[in-house]
Symmetry: C2
DNA sequence: AAGTGGTCTAGACCACTTG
DNA sequence: AAGTGGTCTAGACCACTTG
């Protein structure tokens, strides 16, 4: 199925190295031959070898650790469960369910919190029913486990709703922002989840220390009150090499099924 | 926040073009300046300009349409609802819920089906409780809308379970493979969903006509019978530029919540 | 001090569209 | 026929680790 021996030289070099990685000859973390070695092996100039390396780096298979060389990427994914937010009450609400699960596994969590007033990004404005000229309060968090960033969690609230509340202070909210919203008369009973898969923006890449060839999942949650008013949009950015998104389903009974139709 | 004017020349050229794209000066589908034009604009060689272009291509912002030039990528995402598989009975089960929704919007669906006997990939073997030396039946489908591929759907079944059944024929199963499994005494009542975000393999890229800078979501479903036996693993590969994954939640009542704890 | 990958120049030939 | 991006050569200097 896969065409071998075809195409430009740099593709054939990339194919050769990729095969050696997938066969296990070059395992996770293994050092690849140096660019110098590859130029003599394949009888091409360094530019051509570098083009082959770029292919593998952009596939997320290889990382460059300058000036030590190129290495096979090692991936370890932690399980992220979007359903759990409302299922179980987290022991540390502000750290939330994801971090909570990791703490139990003995990892050390930490986070940074910043609060800003800003114009809403287009996707947020659309979901909160705001104009681009309105103002939103944004709580921006970066969450770390054992010192490495795992995801960002940016919550957007309409200014008029949270004005003067605890949500505007850049500190941990012990009982959680959702509880504060409820106290402000905006209890959420319903949420819409969306996941968008793309390459990170340069800002996201630097905030999350994301290398080349690693995409992100943007998990967006819009929370609604009982009467259908959107009161909160959260954007979680999850680097693809660090997360496995998981959820569960039970088959509805025949009766439920018929109800839905 | 974003460091400007820093770093290598090609990064500054990429930053400049990215800013023009994000400001809307270069809108979706717009043609970028030619490499030739950029060499004179920035006073560098073509290799440096090409390095800048590569950055934008790998971010998924720009596509090369040789030999017409480079263009700002246009994205249109269709909504994929993993929850719906069991919620509503699709009008065309084999095309499934996702396609069904698009047909209602006037799009023309089509698909290819191939059936293979193979050793299970590691992730499938682990989930079906099989050894690498066992054999699985794989139904491989590519689904198209208006002629462009939208996703692949590969279903893995233990050979001993589906041996001789309709599942082994490379044709549409009117009532759906899940129904056939139920008739074979393996009705599924529970499923685990996992989503993995990464760059496509070369095979996936060619099956789905995925360009540079476009990641995929791999949505994996493991279906279990009432007594907890895994009988089916499905791998759906969704190109990030064509899908928005959506699901909904309702907050459990206080009582339900306490039950869970 | 030696070895690594990162950046950049200068130039050549090619394949593929489009006018 | 002209213009575009794709591929490749040959060479230079650099920054950053590690022994």
């Amino acid at each position: 199925m896969t065409s071998r021996g075809a195409g430009p030289i740099y593709q054939r070099i990339a194919d050769d190295l990729r095969a050696r990685i997938q066969s296990g000859e070059l395992g996770a973390g293994a050092k690849l031959p140096t660019e110098q070695a590859l130029t003599t092996d394949f009888g091409v100039t360094r530019a051509t070898v570098r083009q082959a390396m770029q292919v593998l780096v952009n596939e997320g298979l290889v990382v460059s650790e300058r000036p030590r060389g190129h290495f096979v990427r090692q991936i370890e994914r932690l399980t992220y469960r979007p359903q759990k937010e409302w299922r179980d009450r987290p022991a540390h609400p502000e750290l939330d369910q994801f971090m909570d699960e990791q703490v139990e596994l003995g990892r050390k969590p930490s986070q940074t919190i910043a609060v800003e007033l800003a114009a809403p990004p287009t996707d947020v404005a659309a979901r909160l029913g705001l104009a681009g000229t309105d103002t939103v309060v944004v709580r921006k968090r970066v969450r770390y486990l054992d010192g490495t960033p795992f995801n960002t969690n940016d919550s957007y609230f309409p200014l008029e709703l949270v004005q003067g509340s605890e949500i505007m202070h850049p500190a941990d909210i012990g009982r959680g922002a959702n509880q504060v919203l409820a106290e402000l008369g905006a209890e959420q009973t319903h949420a819409v989840d969306e996941i968008e898969v793309r390459m990170p923006t340069p800002d996201e890449a630097s905030r999350l220390e994301i290398g080349l060839g690693v995409p992100v999942a943007m998990h967006r949650v819009t929370g609604y009150t009982d009467d259908g008013r959107p009161v909160r949009v959260v954007r979680n950015v999850l680097p693809g090499d660090r997360h496995l998104i998981a959820f569960e389903r039970t088959r509805p009974t025949k009766t439920e099924k018929d109800d839905k139709q």
